[in-house]
Symmetry: C2
Subunit: 650 residues, 2 copies
């Protein structure tokens, strides 16, 4: 890595036990494609929207009151300070990705000033406590979340310093962190925040400043978990992610976002301290989570109630929560595990989560947001309060700025370097300046098209390894690799990458042709909520069936797939969505109601076999669109998982 380039969101120290190292700010420039469009709408709409809303909804004003510069009472969630910080972090990465902006510069200056003046002389900073109960510092961490708010403040401060060289907020953050260390590490205050998040932030601050006590504090917070230090909640210690120590826990339960943020901190501590046991415990939980508690879209959290992971294999498509923040947190966790291990499985989940849950969380205009990302919407639904259609904003405004800070820094998650190579994890059009003078250019229409062309624009003379992730869904036998015009073997290494090791010359190209033919995907038989269904995927994209795209008179819930009908992908420009969209059409059965149209027995929807058996009454062409585009036209019914027809070939 070029030493002079400031780091991105995650920058392991030189001593960290990581296999891969991320690139710095500006080393990856996304030049177009779907990722470019996400960045555009983030820059043009989401970030300005978030800035305006933080200022208009009283969120910034809370801090102004705490600073003695405004009157009035506290407004919003107790942890509303975190929204100010998260938007500042989004602004930072947006400035890094797209260059200076006078309005945003003024926002940063203004907000930083408010935070400076709200901060107490000893470093303490929390508007809710300062306004409502200044003598109750850290007295209600179970729900006040001062440390969680600090976490976002620290991440924003590091981001601003790295992205723009503006160290003003960093000074605030260091005083905050020093205060935490003095209180919790040195003076031995035993409490723990009900909402993790500060752990990973403290490690990053250690990485950024070299101050070891921040890492020690993070490690201390990680180890405190599971011993009842987070206080008591009606929702149980599992809600506080305080039910089991991180070294022995084998599965994720409770509040999904909290559990996932904690895991990012666990991996950070493990890699910075070389703690293989701690890392292995996190990997174990990751594998369990992926195998038993992850939606096809990468979503996490099966329950609206307490925003919780559910039991193993409890993955309802309709009432799942799959919070947008959980998707962002999951990417943070998987990315850190990828850096630690170099294994493609982690990048696979990053991509799945990014292209589906994260991408779907914002509308195509960039100004409406999902908090909850369900895989099914019934007709005439009465969604729980955070479900339903996308909204313009939320009282608990965690999700939109979370997506904005991720998409603003998306280049960071695209490629890495190792001692002898460069790894390409995400296939986005980009210009990449890697270490030792390597310059790459990635050209692709992915995921509309599976072809990815990497051109080596500059290279040292010594050989090095270009490593391209082979996604698990693209079988080697259906994938092509061409190196400098010559077909090459498609044989992934033990970590899941296609390795091209050679002495490169400027102008060399590598072409990867991934299999993005649409495919049918079936659920494991233990997923009760998905039994007897099938979904359509294409490359990294999960597809969904919206009522609005089906033939006139055909009810979405009557559609069933046979498993034998061809899937046909083609571009369609008349859907009422911006730009051409690659849709997937397929023959489908239309099921008749069993016995009669309604209850099958005793008035109830249960009956004997002959009464309950569905019959096929018609054949139609059903249409699927990428899941990330759903709910952009109307509030009608949607399904990712369609029933298998009784004529199903399996």
């Amino acid at each position: 890595m070029t030493e002079s380039t400031p780091a991105g969101p995650v920058a392991p120290s030189a001593a960290a036990a990581v296999r891969l190292r991320p690139l710095g700010v500006g080393q990856v420039r996304i030049t177009g494609g779907l990722a470019g469009e996400w960045q555009r709408r983030t820059r043009e709409v989401t970030v300005p929207t978030a800035v305006a809303l933080v200022e208009s909804t009283g969120t910034l004003r809370n801090l102004e009151i705490a600073a003695g510069e405004a009157d009035g009472g506290f407004q919003g969630m107790h942890f509303a300070d975190s929204d100010v910080a998260k938007v500042l972090e989004a602004v930072a990465w947006r400035l890094a990705a797209h260059g200076p902006d006078d309005d945003l510069r003024r926002t940063v200056d203004h907000w930083t000033g408010v935070l400076e003046r709200a901060q107490r002389p000893d470093g303490y900073l929390n508007s809710w406590v300062q306004i409502t109960a200044p003598d109750r510092r850290y007295g209600a961490l179970v729900s006040s979340h001062e440390l969680y708010c600090y976490g976002h403040l620290i991440q924003a401060a590091v981001a601003l310093d790295r992205a723009t060289g503006d160290g003003r907020l960093l000074a605030v953050a260091r005083r905050v962190a020093d205060h935490v260390v003095a209180e919790f590490l040195r003076a031995g205050r035993p409490d723990l925040d009900g909402h993790p998040g500060v752990e990973t932030a403290l490690v990053e601050l250690y990485r950024h400043t070299g101050e070891r006590s921040y890492l020690d504090q993070a490690a201390d917070f990680v180890e405190r978990r599971g011993h009842g230090h987070a206080g008591r909640s009606d929702r149980g210690s599992v809600y506080l992610v305080d039910h089991e120590p991180v070294r022995t826990s084998t599965t994720l339960n409770g509040h999904a976002v909290r559990a996932l943020y904690l895991e990012a901190g666990v991996v950070d501590v493990a890699t910075e301290t070389g703690d293989d046991e701690l890392l292995a415990a996190s990997v174990r939980r990751w594998e369990d989570t992926v195998a038993h508690k992850t939606a096809l879209t990468g979503g996490h959290g099966s329950r609206h109630l307490f925003e919780a992971f559910g039991d193993r294999d409890e993955l309802p498509p309709d009432q799942s929560y799959n919070e947008t923040c959980a998707a962002v947190a999951s990417i943070h966790w998987s990315w850190r595990l990828l850096l630690a291990t170099g294994e493609a499985q982690f990048a696979d989940l990053v991509e799945r989560t990014l292209y589906n849950t994260v991408a779907a969380s914002t509308n195509v205009d960039g100004d409406r947001f999902f908090y909850v990302n369900a895989l099914q919407r019934r007709p005439d639904a009465t969604p729980p309060p955070k479900g339903g259609r996308r909204r313009a904003w939320f009282t608990c405004a965690c999700c939109p700025p979370n997506v904005a800070r991720l998409l603003g820094s998306l280049g960071h998650y695209t490629a890495t370097t190792s001692a002898d190579g460069v790894q390409l994890h995400l296939f986005v059009p980009a210009e990449i300046q890697a270490n030792d003078g390597v310059q790459l250019r990635v050209a692709t229409e992915y995921p509309d098209d599976g072809r990815v062309r990497v051109t080596v624009d500059a290279t040292p003379t010594t050989p090095w390894r270009l490593e391209l992730r082979l996604p698990a869904w693209s079988a080697p036998g259906r994938t092509a690799l061409t190196v400098a015009g010559t077909p090459a073997d498609v044989r992934p290494d033990e970590r899941g990458y296609l390795v091209v090791h050679r002495a490169w010359r400027a102008g060399d190209t590598v072409e990867l042709d991934l299999d993005v033919a649409p495919r049918l995907t079936y659920p494991h038989r233990r997923l009760d909520a998905l039994r007897g269904t099938v979904a359509v995927e294409r490359g990294p994209l999960v597809y969904c069936f919206e009522q609005v795209d089906q033939p006139a008179g055909v009810t979405l819930d009557d559609l069933a797939l046979t498993g034998g009908d061809p899937l046909t992908a083609h571009q369609e420009s008349s859907l009422g969505l911006p730009g051409p969209v690659t849709v997937v059409d397929t023959g489908a059965d239309v099921l008749a109601a069993p016995a009669h149209d309604g209850p099958v027995h005793d008035g109830l929807p249960y009956g004997a076999a002959h009464a309950a058996a569905p019959a096929v009454k018609a054949r139609v062409t059903a249409r699927a669109v990428p899941y990330h585009l759903w709910d952009n036209r109307d509030g009608g019914a949607m399904r990712v998982w369609l029933p298998r027809s009784p004529r199903s070939t399996r």
Copy 2:
């Protein structure tokens, strides 16, 4: 009906538009069987337990504080007064069913005295308001639920007067009702309680006293719904059942117990005022609810979040709520519709709900209770707070006394009379003294056995109709009817009853032999959460598979039914449950994990057809027990719905 016999819980006035009339206290004496056992444990364990807990948990003390007889602060839920009343009602019906008891008599006297002294001179009575904010009467009905508490107080008072002739509490209740009429009907206070319940109580008080203003007030409350008078809740007007007027609403949404209590009041108002439109609207919602929002066990409420009905066809077996109180409320509603219409479908649902959800809500010892009645428990489950195993009591202690008041008055729900006959709705061993000198004796081992013998012990000389409900699950062709030793046609009338119209002689018998052979039941194809599964039923009983009953080494979640294996019912005494239990054994497939034991693709539990397809690795005999007996041995896994094997015959 014998005019001198006091009425049971529901006693339509002489002018009411009802087809059937319930019998009075003491006219139906349950003499044994499963219902007798439920009454025994209610009498011996549940009622004394509930009395003791109301006194020990501070619930009664709240009223003592309000009466100025004790010090301290309010304890428990804001509407805790309702628990006092509900337990008093349970005590009343228990005294009616089983005769005097000195301890309970003292309890009634003591508690009534406290309520008398807590009541304000103008009739107002609510300990939470009187203790915490005496000047905020009816100021927070959205959650204080003063009217809901009144409802239970009125029902308890009517019950005590009817069951024991003790009119002391009735005087309190009348003062309460008069206060409500003065405030809400006469003075025009526009508010509405967030929790319905007072409506049906006011109608019953009208029926008991003849005071017309109580009926007018009930009708007024019913009509106020749907116009925003219940206040504002974060959970929405649907949670308050205030989102749509009762005359136009077509489906039940929101909080299940609230919605169901309201319906009981709607039917009461409709029958007492002869309002056919209002009745038709309730019937329409009942049919919609049964067809789309009712679990196989009769449970209602698909969501833990806000204890809500879900969308149509959203019926998850694992995360459904199916609150015990909703089952009681559902029986109240269906029973009133049965009285109004005489149609067996309503009695069918009463029976299904009683023998499954209500029966399962209490353990076999009578001292532990389900709040939530799920149809599936996964291994190593992390249940939501009100889920999991039965508990000894609840902070919100609504459910156990609700079951106790229902079971104590179970005789009331057994038989009715009409102008020219007697109807038998529930098949329980009983002695029935109906109108005009008709005396019947019912002998049966139902539901272990399908034979029900009714002996006419006394009869007038004029002919009359004995009407026996033919449950929808017992097909006429598999049912036998014998009248005075002679086989008779099994041909139900248009309301679903087998009618025997004759001049009876004392000693005549009618024998009904219902088909209680175990049967497989399949879900309607639109029930996404149950697709590809099958359940076992037997007579009115839903069966379930508990891990503890399966062969050693066989994991419950690996079992699948073919649909072709015989079901064998036999009695088993070695299960670790009291008495012999009729179990159902069946051959079952044991499924192997697809592809390999764990994720099928990409680490995720999703994959291509060949990877996801399950295979059969063994054949075993699986065992099912009645659902109402589950969770009496351990906290292991349970399923009502088992997957269909890939070898399934349908």
